[in-house]
């Protein structure tokens, strides 16, 4: 059996050693800084009756001693007092157990504060409970600090999560707003808070949280270098509860919210610039070629502001069409820049009538000093005969499209561009009948971590069944990319019409 603290049976008082002590005990209680309250043992209403409070208790609660003696501690309770905590208290004391807990109490002037308190039964020598003794501490500031810390940490978690995932600017702001509404109400400890971001015309861009009353506490924040302004409102406050809102903590939190939102807005702005620059390195998606239907797509990796090194292009001359896709290894500015140079060089070589072999050799010589590898697939269509010749520098095979479906075209690859002492590539040759076509793509489309490459290739081939238009096919393939894929993807498809 557990022994209650202060159980006289466990450590009997020897009257001899304690002679004259009751006066000291009383003086100690009176002068202690711990708020102490002693009640009678009767728990049923209107009890328990307060028989003693010390001056520390009076200064904490604002009550005079005469105002509380003979009354119940229920006097201190109010709308924000935690009922479940009181039920637990009653069941512990009824069972003769000690109790510790935390809730909101009210001072004599009606202002709320958070107490942490412990109650222990006081037993007579026969073991009967005659009183309860409670020590209380005002922990309002501790709770406020803990709430502020928890809400700030949670806000940072949400920001990190957004930066690691693929959500766009609007969805990112909405997630932050939802968290701010939650975090602000946690700090306010009153359960309702709202947040809105609005522009200089006072049009609301993002908002979250329930409507709050007119008597809400309102805090604004500005976003540097942005037309957006933010507003956090905490309510519905009764006049009595208003002082309970931690305005200092809320102000600190809202400053942090301003920093986080500004960082997020800036991140999305930078990412948009990077993607725009990258897009400018590629030809438009609305490519055309004589006697062919052509469609192309480029999808950046969705995470971070890194750019990628994938490209596609079409070169048209009198007797041939050359379709290319390529992938400079790695990510980032270097990969994107080399990609841009390779694509332009390839176009210039083909423009002057170079053979595919000559063009690949030129690109190879550009990659070697850059110490970067690139894979590339080039498909040359003879406009007269329909003969299609394919060269692969370490690139994944294309899918041959026919009206009935698709199949992988087995193109024997040579090493990637930029790989030392490579031999000239030998082309693979097929005849492309009118109505047939080809899908070229980069590895971001098929490569999945922990999956065999052939499964990704098979999935792509399966998507090529019953295709009505090339645009529909490419959109379907884009839609099949997993959420949060971090590699970029380039795709080029064409169909021979004549």
């Amino acid at each position: 059996m557990m022994t209650a603290v202060g159980d006289p049976a466990a450590d009997p008082i020897d009257d001899g050693t304690l002679a004259g002590l009751p006066e000291v005990l009383l003086a100690a209680l009176e002068q202690s800084r711990s708020a102490t309250c002693i009640t009678a043992a009767e728990l049923d209403p209107p009890g328990p009756e307060i028989v003693y409070v010390n001056p520390a208790y009076c200064s904490m609660t604002g009550y005079q001693r005469g105002e509380v003696i003979g009354r119940s501690p229920r006097l201190m309770q109010g709308p924000l007092t935690d009922r479940a905590e009181l039920d637990r208290l009653r069941s512990d004391l009824t069972a003769g157990r000690s109790f510790s807990g935390q809730t909101v109490n009210y001072r004599a002037d009606g202002s709320p504060f958070v107490i942490s308190w412990s109650i222990d039964p006081v037993r007579d020598p026969a073991g009967r409970i005659t009183h309860f003794v409670a020590t209380q501490e005002d922990v309002t500031e501790k709770v406020r600090a803990a709430n502020l810390l928890a809400a700030t940490e949670q806000l940072d978690e949400v920001l990190i999560d957004i930066l690691r995932s693929s959500v766009d600017a609007d969805a990112g702001l909405e997630r932050v707003a939802a968290e701010v509404a939650r975090g602000a109400s946690q700090i306010a400890a009153l359960g309702t808070a709202s947040v809105s971001l609005y522009d200089d015309q006072r049009r609301v861009a993002v908002s979250a949280g329930p409507p709050v009353g007119d008597n809400a506490v309102a805090l604004r924040f500005d976003l540097p270098e942005s037309a957006l302004r933010g507003l956090v409102r905490v309510g519905e406050l009764s006049d009595q509860d208003e002082g309970f809102v931690d305005r200092t903590g809320l102000a600190a939190y809202v400053r942090r919210v301003g920093t986080v939102v500004a960082a997020l807005v800036e991140y999305h702005r930078q990412r948009a610039i990077a993607l725009r620059l990258q897009r400018e390195l590629l030809p438009p998606e609305g490519l055309t070629a004589p006697c062919c239907l052509v469609a192309a797509r480029y999808a950046p990796g969705l995470v971070g502001s890194r750019v990628g090194g994938d490209w596609y292009d079409v070169a048209v001359s009198e007797n041939r069409l050359v379709f290319t896709v390529g992938d400079v290894s790695g990510n980032g500015v270097e990969a994107a820049a080399l990609m841009g140079r390779l694509r332009v060089l390839a176009a210039a070589e083909l423009e002057r009538g170079a053979s595919i072999g000559e063009m690949l050799a030129r690109l190879d010589r550009m990659c070697v000093p850059a110490r970067q590898l690139a894979t590339m697939l080039a498909a040359e269509l003879d406009r007269g005969s329909g003969e299609l010749r394919l060269w692969s520098a370490g690139h994944l095979p294309p899918v041959l499209l026919s009206p009935t479906g698709g199949r992988l075209l087995d193109v024997i690859p040579g090493p990637p561009l930029g790989y030392a002492d490579r031999a000239p590539l030998a082309p693979t040759s097929v005849v492309l009948e009118p109505g047939a076509g080809l899908l070229l793509f980069t590895d971001g489309l098929v490569e999945r971590r922990g999956e065999v490459l052939d499964r990704g290739l098979a999935r792509t081939v399966a998507e090529c069944q019953s295709v009505r238009t090339l645009d529909e096919l490419l959109d379907r393939l884009l839609a099949s990319l997993p959420d949060g894929h971090d590699d970029d993807v380039a795709m080029l498809a064409f169909q021979r019409r004549c």
């Binding site: 290894s329 790695g330 590898l373 692969s392 690859p413 990637p416 490459l453 971090d486």
Partner: protein, 100 residues
């Protein structure tokens, strides 16, 4: 769950056994290890326990091969799992990495 990679040494440092998944996340780890291989080493990369390889992983191997060759050494891979052998084949590197 993040991918895991383990690199162990055999044959007085002339063989490195690569165990686990070699992808974008673990490739830098292999890069660091390969950078410590002395110049001029004739290195064998044992891929018998490599369960996955991405283009980033392949890039790290080719980079090391380039450095070793430049100092009179070499790099070949041995006993790749079918999954890894297929990636090497599709990348046109079977011959270059000593597999054909």
């Amino acid at each position: 769950m993040p991918a895991e990679l383990r690199v162990t040494e055999a044959d007085q440092g002339r063989t490195l056994r690569v165990s686990g998944e070699l992808d974008t996340h673990t490739a830098p780890q292999l890069y660091e290890r390969l950078a410590q291989v002395p110049r001029g080493t004739h290195l064998v990369l044992d891929l018998a326990e490599t369960t996955f390889i991405s283009s980033a992983g392949l890039g790290v191997i080719l980079d090391a091969q380039g450095r070793l060759r430049a100092s009179g050494g070499s790099l070949v891979v041995s006993s790749p799992t079918p999954v890894v052998a297929r990636v090497i084949e599709l990348s046109g590197l079977s011959g270059s990495l000593g597999l054909s």
